[in-house]
Symmetry: C2
Subunit: 256 residues, 2 copies
């Protein structure tokens, strides 16, 4: 489902006409990479670079040049053949596609070690994600400002989230509380959740969940350590060549 292209729209759309159709066609993996490109491009812009080729950008982002061009083609044709891409133009178009033109109010739930760290990030990396609300069950924390924002009690979550138009909820609670918090966020109208708790959240279909799971990350690394160790034992030759292709957005390129 969802793979049919809606055609025949002739109304004057408030947001670009053909972009919507493109947006729904962008593979999730490509979206993740676009965010990386955006950061690299922003860095280049800060250094005064105005133009870049797909080869240069792909090197900096740690991906294949062809893949980069395909990723960029998902959002349109904004390059100049024979020349490359204008950094500013690319930045603005990626920002538009990623929806970074509007601000996304963020609420952090669970003000423990991690919650503190998140709250203190201060405007979150890559501006546009202001933390506007903090919540915790601990009554002793309520009212105390963390990173400039006072902590609210978790029971106020619905009212506060609605009032401050929170669009992204970050769950940094202990595992047992995560599902309950998630449910409350959802019923408060939050449709995007970033979950740091090592729990598989159950949510309705209209809610988007991204998961950051330290234990899983560590265990994946552990797997590779073990595999490598075994290979080392069984292969008399010491040749190492791994190549971290596969899923994920990690880049890994030999420096020039």
């Amino acid at each position: 489902m969802a793979s049919q292209r809606g055609e025949g729209e002739t109304t004057t759309t408030p947001l670009e006409p053909a972009d919507r159709e493109r947006a729904r066609a962008i593979p999730e993996a490509a979206v993740a990479r676009l965010a990386v490109y955006l950061r690299v491009l922003s860095g280049m812009a800060d250094q005064g670079v105005t133009a870049v080729s797909s080869e240069e950008l792909s090197q900096a982002a740690g991906v294949n040049a062809a893949k980069l061009r395909k990723d960029l083609s998902y959002i349109g044709s904004y390059g100049t053949r024979g020349v490359g891409y204008d950094v500013e133009v690319l930045v603005s178009h990626i920002e538009r596609i990623l929806g970074l033109t509007r601000n996304h109010s963020v609420a952090v739930v669970g003000i423990g070690n991690l919650g503190h760290a998140l709250a203190n990030y201060g405007g979150f990396p890559g501006r546009g994600f202001p933390v506007t609300a903090l919540f915790d069950v601990d009554a002793d924390l309520v009212g105390i400002p963390v990173g400039g924002i006072p902590v609210n009690h978790i029971d106020e979550i619905t009212a506060v989230c609605r009032e401050r138009e929170v669009s992204i909820g970050v769950i940094a609670t202990p595992p047992p509380a995560a599902q309950s918090v998630c449910d409350r966020l959802v019923s408060a109208g939050v449709q995007c959740i970033l979950n740091f708790a090592p729990v598989v959240l159950q949510v309705p279909d209209n809610v988007e969940v991204r998961k950051v799971d330290l234990a899983v990350e560590m265990q994946i690394l552990s797997f590779h350590v073990a595999r490598r160790a075994d290979e080392a034992v069984h292969n008399s030759s010491g040749g190492v060549s791994v190549g971290n292709n596969g899923l994920g957005v990690d880049g890994m390129v030999i420096r020039p």
Copy 2:
């Protein structure tokens, strides 16, 4: 390269004979899910559950039942047809494949907000990953214990990592320092890195990097917010059906 299957080994191997061959064949995405299954199974074991079917486990892990069975088949046939899986057995086999039978010493570099949070996790989620070393550039922090471990100066990184046999390095520094820290970790013999800095690290092929990028996660969520908002504007019908398939290990299932 690396896709040939080494056969003809008849020596008594310290680690199971046919498992190595299996291990290198497990898709990366499946490895990530195995870690999730392991957590779910551990939780079940704690609650006294001794047996589980693929259907139950897949529900709890938020994945398709067929996919779960296929994932488990990568590590061998440890189920009983007509019955299901023995929880203990499955746990021990997944742990073995993921290399969790040995401890993996972890070093955290960059003792800021995030570094503090990581150090205080205390033995890291899912035991087996003891934090044994902390590093920072700030001389004022050196010697002060965080989460029970004294902070070392970053210049000692090579000596300390070698001495404590650190196998996983966690980078929680500001972006500009990340590549430098990474280089030092690599030259200290660390082959696995978990990177929290919003930087694309350049490493040699024999080093495995996993990335946790908050900005990217937020921007992916932002993308979905924007897409959804556009759809809401253009679709008069209010039907919502997203389905978070694609990359990643996130689960999303309607609760029973």
